[in-house]
Subunit: 199 residues, 2 copies
């Protein structure tokens, strides 16, 4: 943005580094912040800094935490006999929103992907095995993504946990609102394999 | 984002206030910043604060400026006999990028819009008349948007400037790459009205 004042150009450059934010969107956002109240712009800058300063990973489950442990690990009402294994901290949020799950989590920090150089030692798999080995865990729900890497990760963990706890995997099938005509064959195949008896 | 740590929720809330950034995008950006280097997040926060602190409006043309006057008004190579009138500071950038224009600008700060309660006194129209009245201006190019409010603003200013300078309006017609079949009738009408003789 060589045509404008340098500080505006620097802001556009910084905003452009964000994922999915191109040059034009960055420019639009920068102009919005320029016109916005000082209070709004300062609040955004402060929120970025505060988040970086205060948010870390839970020492037990590696979910996001403000202190040493996350809210879920610290909540005495959660069922400590069930652990739901997810790839990223962001995956915890949609699961919590379902209000269907009252157990604990374990965030791996990614999925096995030999192509990207991610092997078991890069994920919090050893930490999961230790948690289960410490006893008291009845079920481990593998909620890694239904992708090649997520499936490989789920299979790897299931093998490691054999005999130590019931290991389950989230159901795969047609999402609500989908239509058969446009469903991909893998999803449709999974929907057939996982079909249930209606009472 | 009540499921995550409070500072993450606050950042998502602040990002959601940006135009075109919904809850999901805000969440994706917040998670990106969480995973990003401290340096990247700090640079973004600093760029926001620096821009708000240092960028104001030029005292002559009301374009963005780092000091009392903008770069264009301070550039001795610009043609001071021509003023291009635009609605917003953001409109200066695409015009500068054409490298077709070497005159000065005047940024109105909007367009006349009785419905939105914007009248002539809300725009920098008196300031434009004063600049032209001070003499030395040969041509005023009205480059407000080709919209109802932009056209109304252009007509209003043209009336005020009658007899004081040559007043021109940017050409309206088919954009490069357009096809006739999908052109709207107003654009196509303007393209006919503004047709040129080919040599």
């Amino acid at each position: 943005l060589s045509e404008g004042p340098a500080p505006l150009g620097r802001l556009v450059a910084e905003l452009s580094r964000l994922p999915g934010i191109g040059q034009r969107t960055a420019q639009r956002l920068a102009f919005h912040l320029l016109r916005a109240d000082d209070e709004e712009a300062r609040a955004l800058a402060a929120a970025i800094l505060e988040m970086k300063e205060k948010v870390g990973l839970c020492e037990v489950c590696f979910n996001l935490a403000e202190g040493p442990r996350c809210r879920i690990c610290e909540d005495p009402r959660r069922d400590t006999t069930v652990i739901c294994v997810v790839e990223e901290p962001a995956d915890v949020i949609p699961i919590e929103r379902t209000h269907e799950y009252r157990g604990l989590y374990h965030v791996l920090g990614g999925a096995l992907s030999p192509i990207d150089g991610v092997d078991a030692s890069d994920l919090k798999i050893a930490e999961l095995l230790r948690r289960v080995g410490d006893g008291g865990v009845r079920e481990v729900i593998l909620a890694t993504n239904p992708t090649t890497t997520g499936e490989a990760t789920a299979l790897h963990i299931a093998e490691q946990l054999r005999g130590q706890a019931t290991v389950t995997r989230l159901a795969s099938g047609l999402p609500i609102g989908a239509d058969l005509e446009h469903a991909d064959e893998v999803t449709l195949g999974n929907a057939f394999t996982g079909r249930r008896t209606l009472e």
